[in-house]
C-alpha cells in the first residue's frame, strides 16, 4: 500500500474499483461497532464489513482483481449519514487515495479533504461509463490529474471537477498543516541555533 497522503496532491495514479449504488452511508462504509477503538489502525480490514459479509467474498473490496486499487468510483450522495471520520479513515487504510463519483455528502467530503483524499465529480452518464470500463478491465491503470482536472487511462480520458477552494488546498498541500510546518525545516534549524537554551547555554 502506498503511504498516506502528504503535501501537495497533484495526481493519484493506480488501478480503480467500483462500488455501485446511491446514498451509500457511512454506517455501511464502517459499521458502528467498529468505532470503539484506540486508534484507526484496524479500520482498513473493516471497511464495508457488513456488505462484504453479506456478499460472501464477491464484494468489490474482496475480489482479487481489485486488490491494490487506489481510486474508488461511486455514484450519488456517497458518504451520507453519520459524520464519523472513521469512514474515510477506513477507506484510506484499505488503500483508497481518491474517490470519483456523481456527488458526495458534505461532511464526508470534508473529512476526506482533511486526510488529503480528493473527492471529484463527473456527470452521471460519464460515471456509468467509467464504472463499466473499470469492471471490464480491472487491471487498467488510471490517473486522476488534479492539475488538468481529468481522469485518464491509456484508452480514454474524462473531465472531472472539484470546487476551487478544496482544489487549491489539495494542490498546494495546505490541507495538511504538518507538511506546511515541515517545509520550513531549514528556517527552524537556524532559529534553534539562535536560541541559547536549546543547547543548554553552552555556546556564547
Amino acid at each position: 500500500m502506498s503511504s498516506f497522503p502528504s503535501g501537495s496532491i497533484q495526481r493519484v495514479a493506480g488501478t480503480a474499483l467500483v462500488v455501485q449504488g446511491e446514498d451509500i452511508d457511512t454506517d455501511r462504509i464502517i459499521p458502528a461497532r467498529f468505532l470503539k477503538c484506540v486508534s484507526f489502525d484496524a479500520l482498513g480490514d473493516q471497511v464495508f464489513a457488513d456488505d462484504r459479509q453479506e456478499l460472501n467474498g464477491s464484494h468489490p473490496f474482496d475480489q482479487p482483481a481489485f486488490q491494490g486499487a487506489s481510486i474508488l468510483i461511486v455514484n450519488g450522495n456517497f458518504g451520507c449519514g453519520s459524520s464519523r471520520e472513521h469512514a474515510p479513515q477506513a477507506l484510506m487504510r484499505w488503500g483508497i487515495r481518491a474517490v470519483v463519483g456523481v456527488s458526495f455528502a458534505e461532511i464526508f467530503f470534508g473529512n476526506c479533504l482533511a486526510l488529503g483524499i480528493p473527492c471529484m465529480t463527473a456527470a452521471s452518464e460519464e460515471i456509468q461509463l467509467i464504472q463499466q470500463a473499470v469492471i471490464e478491465d480491472p487491471g487498467r491503470e488510471w490517473c486522476l490529474d488534479l492539475m488538468a482536472l481529468a481522469l485518464g487511462s491509456p484508452q480514454d480520458r474524462w473531465a472531472v471537477s472539484l470546487e476551487p477552494g478544496p482544489l487549491d488546498m489539495l494542490r498546494s498541500g495546505r490541507w495538511d498543516a504538518t507538511s506546511q510546518l515541515l517545509s520550513r525545516d531549514s528556517e527552524l534549524t537556524a532559529l534553534m541555533k539562535q536560541l541559547p537554551y536549546i543547547n543548554g547555554f553552552q555556546t556564547a
Binding site: 495546505r174 527552524l188 537554551y197
Partner: protein
C-alpha cells in the same frame, strides 16, 4: 557579557512579545505563525493518536530530546503494580511506553522517582525555564508560565505537528496585565487569588488574551504559588498566563536536574533576565486588584467563575448579570444549593487534596498545618494525592504522611486522581466534594451527578475536619516548620 545572538530580544516589550518573536519561524498563509516549541510535554491520554497519525504520514519525531513524557491521568493511586486492573488504562500506558521507546523519548515512569502530574514534574526537574515556549496536549499547560515561559495547551493534531516538526501553527494573543498590589492576608492563598480573579473577570474574560500576572503581591509569591496562579489562567479563558522571571524564579531553578550549571548558569540568568517585560511595555489591557481585599474563596456552582468569599451567600438571580443567570439557575438545580444560603457550613462528603493546581509540597504543608492534631469529621472520606513522586517522598521525609494519616486522611501515590477521575478515584452518586483541583464542571469528578466545591488545600483540610465548608482563618494552625 553574554554576546546576544542574532535573535536578540526586542529592546522594549512584554515577555510575551519577546518570547513570541524569538520563536517565530515564519508567518503562514492564512495569518497564523509557525512557532518553534522549546519544550514539548506528553502524557498517556492525548499522545497515542498523535503518534499513530505520525506513523500514518510516514513521519518521525523531529527532536525526541525536546519531548518529555510522564504518565499521570490514568494511574491508580492505591496500588500501582502492573498490569493495572483496568485493561484500557494498561493499554494506554503500554502504548505510551512503546512510543517513547521507539522514538527515544524520555519517559518518567512509575517508580523512577520522577513520575507525577506533567505540570508538577516538568518544573521540579528544571525542564521548564524562563523564555521557553512550552506545549502539551493538556489545557493546564498554562502552569509553566509561572517561570516566564509562554506555555499553552494544544489538541491532538497539534501534538502530532509538534512531534513531527518541533513547531506549530498559532495565532498571537493579546496581553492583559493582571496587576495585584498589596499583601495577601494570613490564611489567603494563591488559589484564593486566582479564584477571585476568575470570579471577577469571568470564565470567558480571558479568551484571546495571555494573562501577565504582575504587581507587588505577585512578586511576593513563591514559585509554587505562581504555578497555582498560572495553572488556572485557562479557567479564566486565557490560554496562557505568566509571571516575569525574577530572583525567586532563579533560586527555584538553581541545582535542578535539567537546569544549567556553572558558567552556563550565569549566561542563562542573564538571558532570562533580559526577557522580562520592560517597564514601558505596552499591554492591550490592564486590570488592577488589591490583594488585601481577597478572602478565602470557594466555588458554589458548576463553573470556576461561580466563586464566593467564605463569608458570602449564594447569589440570587437579581444581583447577577443577566448573561450569568441561566448558568446560575442550572447551578442551583445541579448543586442543590439555594440562593441566600451561606457558603460556609455547606456539608461535604469527600475531601480531595491534590492535582496540578495544588498538589505540590507547599500545598500539602498548608493542608497538614490544618490537619495536625485534628481528625476528619464522621462520615467524611478524605485523601491526599501528591502531585509527583518527588513531592510524595519529600512530604514523607517531613512526616506529612503521618500527620494526614493520624487525622484520618488516606495517603496515596501520585497522579491526577479525582481531579478528573479517569482512574478508580471518583465521586459516587450525588456526593459533594471539597477539592483543591481546578474544575467543578458537571460530572468532572467521575459521577454524572457528583458535585465539586473548589478551594485551597488548607480550606479542603478545614472542610474535612468540620465536615462542612469552613473558614480556615478561624482555625489555629500547626505548621511543620
Amino acid at each position: 557579557m553574554f554576546p546576544v545572538p542574532a535573535a536578540a530580544p526586542l529592546s522594549s516589550g512584554t515577555l510575551y512579545d519577546k518570547v513570541w518573536e524569538l520563536h517565530r519561524v515564519d508567518d503562514l498563509p492564512g495569518g497564523s505563525t509557525q512557532l518553534l516549541v522549546g519544550l514539548h510535554l506528553i502524557h498517556e491520554v492525548t499522545s497515542p493518536q498523535a503518534f499513530a497519525a505520525l506513523r500514518d504520514k510516514g513521519l518521525t519525531v523531529r527532536c525526541p530530546e525536546r519531548t518529555v513524557a510522564t504518565v499521570d491521568h490514568i494511574v491508580p493511586t492505591t496500588t500501582q503494580t502492573r498490569p493495572f486492573n483496568d485493561p484500557l488504562a494498561e493499554e494506554m500506558l503500554s502504548t505510551l511506553e512503546r512510543n517513547c521507546l521507539e522514538y527515544g523519548i524520555q519517559l518518567n515512569a512509575i517508580g523512577s522517582g520522577r513520575q507525577g502530574i506533567v505540570h508538577v514534574i516538568a518544573p521540579e526537574l528544571g525542564l521548564t525555564q524562563p523564555g521557553m515556549t512550552v506545549a502539551c496536549g493538556d489545557s493546564h499547560t498554562s502552569t509553566h508560565g509561572a517561570f516566564g515561559a509562554i506555555a499553552f495547551g494544544i489538541g491532538t493534531s497539534q501534538v502530532r505537528d509538534v512531534l513531527a516538526s518541533q513547531s506549530l501553527a498559532m495565532s498571537k494573543l493579546k496581553v492583559r496585565r493582571i496587576r495585584v498590589d498589596g499583601h495577601l492576608a494570613k490564611g489567603v492563598s494563591a488559589k484564593d487569588l486566582i479564584l477571585h480573579v476568575i470570579r471577577t473577570l469571568g470564565v470567558k474574560g480571558g479568551v484571546g488574551f495571555a494573562y501577565e500576572f504582575a504587581g507587588t503581591a505577585i512578586e511576593a509569591l513563591s514559585m509554587e504559588e505562581r504555578m497555582t496562579l498560572c495553572n488556572m489562567a485557562i479557567e479564566g479563558g486565557a490560554r496562557c498566563g505568566y509571571v516575569n522571571p525574577d530572583q525567586i524564579t532563579f533560586d527555584y531553578l538553581r541545582g535542578r536536574p535539567h537546569a544549567p550549571s556553572g558558567e552556563f548558569w550565569d549566561r542563562a540568568v542573564q538571558w532570562w533576565s533580559s526577557l522580562a517585560s520592560d517597564a514601558d511595555a505596552v499591554v492591550d489591557d490592564e486590570v488592577v486588584f488589591d490583594a488585601g481585599q481577597i478572602v478565602p474563596t470557594v466555588t458554589w456552582g458548576i463553573t470556576p467563575g461561580q466563586g464566593l468569599g467564605i463569608d458570602e451567600r449564594i447569589p440570587s438571580l437579581d444581583v447577577l448579570d443577566p448573561a450569568d443567570r441561566p448558568i446560575a439557575e442550572e447551578a442551583y438545580r445541579y448543586m442543590d444549593l439555594q440562593p441566600g444560603t451561606a457558603i460556609a457550613g455547606v456539608p461535604v462528603d469527600v475531601c480531595f487534596i491534590g492535582s496540578c493546581t495544588n498538589g505540590r509540597l507547599s500545598d500539602l504543608r498548608a493542608a497538614a498545618a490544618v490537619a495536625r492534631g485534628r481528625h476528619i469529621a464522621d462520615g467524611i472520606k478524605a485523601f491526599v494525592v501528591p502531585g509527583s513522586e518527588q513531592v510524595a517522598r519529600a512530604a514523607e521525609a517531613e512526616g506529612l504522611d503521618r500527620v494526614f494519616r493520624a487525622a484520618g486522611f488516606e495517603w496515596r501515590e501520585p497522579g491526577c486522581s479525582m481531579c478528573l477521575a479517569m482512574n478508580p478515584d471518583r465521586l459516587e452518586g450525588r456526593q459533594i466534594s471539597a477539592s483543591s483541583s481546578n474544575r467543578n464542571f458537571k460530572g468532572r469528578q467521575g459521577s454524572a451527578s457528583g458535585r465539586t466545591l473548589l478551594m485551597s488545600p488548607a480550606m479542603v483540610a478545614a472542610a474535612a475536619v468540620h465536615g462542612q465548608v469552613t473558614d480556615v482563618r478561624g482555625l489555629s494552625l500547626h505548621p511543620t516548620s
